[in-house]
């Protein structure tokens, strides 16, 4: 009989052998897959900006990452990125919160119509749920809604067809329509729309609310599909650009990421069909001494992304050859695309910094 329950357990369970004595670029056994994701599996991706890296690396390894709203024929990568083709499996832009994911899914299955669907800016009309997919907007609200109808048809297809859903939790902070509770991916007035405190209010989701939204999303898919997909969740290591809580942005960011990490952990513990991939830990753990962050201490370096993805692929594609993930042809549109070639609406908040 053991003297202690810690006696004889694996070396990865101890900080010294599991972390302190490890190469931070290659922490052994940090991730052990719950189930195998194969190249032929139909993989759909969604989430916050960091999720774009996952799709890019999976495609580079020839995984079957779905793309139900492909770019027009002949469009180069840099232009495709401007219009958010191929960023995710559909052109929904970044889905920062679980509530937004649930709302989109309900809308795609005709169970909910969000309020305040069209935002204006400089005489042009934008889809409030994905204001950056058409950077110049449309000429009328009708055009926006027509585009949304076709978009939702593709989202529905994707949700029904996918074998694996990869989702990166990004934020807890969001803005909602007071009367209806409709959630938006960006604050009104940031990219389009106008901020009116009588119409919109700030919301910082709790652990319970975030968990509930994701569980409802899963239940909805279970009802709509013959066979439920498997899920892989991650938490974006990218801190908040700005907070509307009134707290210091570091504290606000820590709250947000802690909630999301807690939700991901609880989902992992309680759902057999859901795996958690610790890209958050790989990037943010203090053993890396911040070296996986850009100079602004926010953006993740390519080395960080590569380290995270190598850890992932070592479990899901151990024999695969590494290739260079496709990047935009040029960086001439970097101002639009953000500092690390991701499409990030949230980064636009920086423009409001004094």
């Amino acid at each position: 009989m053991s003297k202690s329950p810690y006696e004889g357990i694996q070396t990865r369970s101890f900080w010294r052998s599991g972390v302190a004595e490890q190469n931070p670029f290659d922490i052994k056994e940090l991730y052990q897959r719950k189930f195998r994701i194969r190249r032929k599996d139909a993989i759909a991706t969604a989430g916050s900006c960091f999720a774009q890296h996952i799709a890019r690396h999976l495609r580079a390894r020839k995984f079957n990452v779905l793309n139900y709203e492909p770019a027009p024929r002949g469009m180069r990568a840099v232009l495709a990125q401007k219009y958010q083709f191929g960023t995710y499996s559909c052109r929904y832009g970044n889905i920062y919160t679980a509530a937004q994911l649930l709302q989109l899914t309900r809308e795609a299955f005709g169970q909910e119509i969000p309020e305040d669907r069209v935002w204006k800016k400089d005489g042009r009309f934008f889809d409030a749920q994905r204001p950056m997919v058409e950077p110049g907007g449309f000429a009328s609200a009708g055009e926006v809604l027509e585009a949304r109808v076709r978009h939702l048809a593709q989202v529905r297809r994707m949700l029904l067809d996918m074998d694996v859903f990869v989702f990166t939790f990004g934020l807890t902070e969001t803005w909602i329509h007071r009367e209806s509770g409709t959630v938006f991916p960006t604050a009104p007035g940031t990219i389009a729309g106008t901020y009116d405190p009588d119409i919109y209010e700030f919301k910082n989701f709790t652990h319970a609310e975030t968990l509930q939204s994701f569980v409802k999303f899963k239940r909805l898919l279970k009802r709509e599909r013959d066979r439920t997909p498997r899920y892989l969740v991650t938490v974006s290591p990218v801190p908040l650009t700005a907070t509307a809580t009134g707290q210091h942005v570091l504290s606000a960011s820590t709250y947000s990421k802690s909630v999301l990490r807690g939700v991901a952990g609880e989902l992992f513990q309680t759902h057999r069909d859901l795996d958690y991939f610790p890209s958050y830990e790989i990037i943010t753990a203090h053993v890396t001494r911040g070296m996986f962050f850009e100079i602004n201490q926010r953006g993740v370096t390519e080395a960080g992304v590569n380290t995270a993805m190598q850890t992932f692929l070592a479990q899901h594609d151990p024999g695969g050859k590494s290739t260079n993930p496709t990047k935009p042809d040029t960086l001439k549109e970097a101002a639009i695309l953000g500092e690390d070639d991701l499409v990030c609406e949230e980064a636009f908040l920086e423009a409001f910094s004094e």
Binding site: Y83, E134, R150, Q154
Partner: protein
Amino acid sequence: MSRKICVMGNSHIAALKGGWEKGEARTDLLPDFYGALSNGMESLSLIDGKLLPQDVKAAEFYCQISGKETGVVPDHYDAFLLCGMGMFPITAFSNYNSFSTPSTRNTKAPHYVSDACLDDLVWDQIDRSMMMHCARLVRSVTEAPVFLVWQAFWSEALFNIEWRAKQMGPILENRDQNYILERMQYIEMRLEKEGFAFLHQPVETIEQGIMTKAKYSRGSVQLRDRLNQSHHEHDVFHMNSDYGVQCWKAWTI
């Protein structure tokens, strides 16, 4: 006094060369024809004050076809006319069945994007074309007018080719010709700001707004020093000398 015109292009100048030789003589113009096959004009450069492809084979052909022994001296010409070389809104055509826009009536397309998205796409295609490489180089070495000519619309003979018929048919059925023409107008607007002018396809040669009448493509010949070799039977891109005749009749240069 005749204006000396430098006509440059790829295989598409064969129709203009043939048309000039076949048509009624215009005494106001004196054109020289310079060209290289396929992508040869991509290497057009200014070498010792002369416009000449750097690619040796292309340069050889370029001089041979012109009947001159040297490259183009920019100051020798009163105007430049550039044709072909990828100047065609192919991405507007090829994406029509999959992408509708506010300007189109194709409700069957699975995707809906802004017109700006398609404009950006077509612009990017033209902006990177061999035509614009040559046109901007010419623009940089002369103050003479530089006229750009779109490649002729595809011949209506395309309906003999199943996949092309499937591509073109819906545009015509939906009466969406203006969608194509608006994309071209957008390109022209941007290039006019760069100092270029446009010469348009003669109305007489156009069928249903965005195709060329079959009689102007039938028997089109390849660009050779002697224009006596035909393009293959199903070539819908290249026009014949009769097309060139119509162009020289219509254009004010």
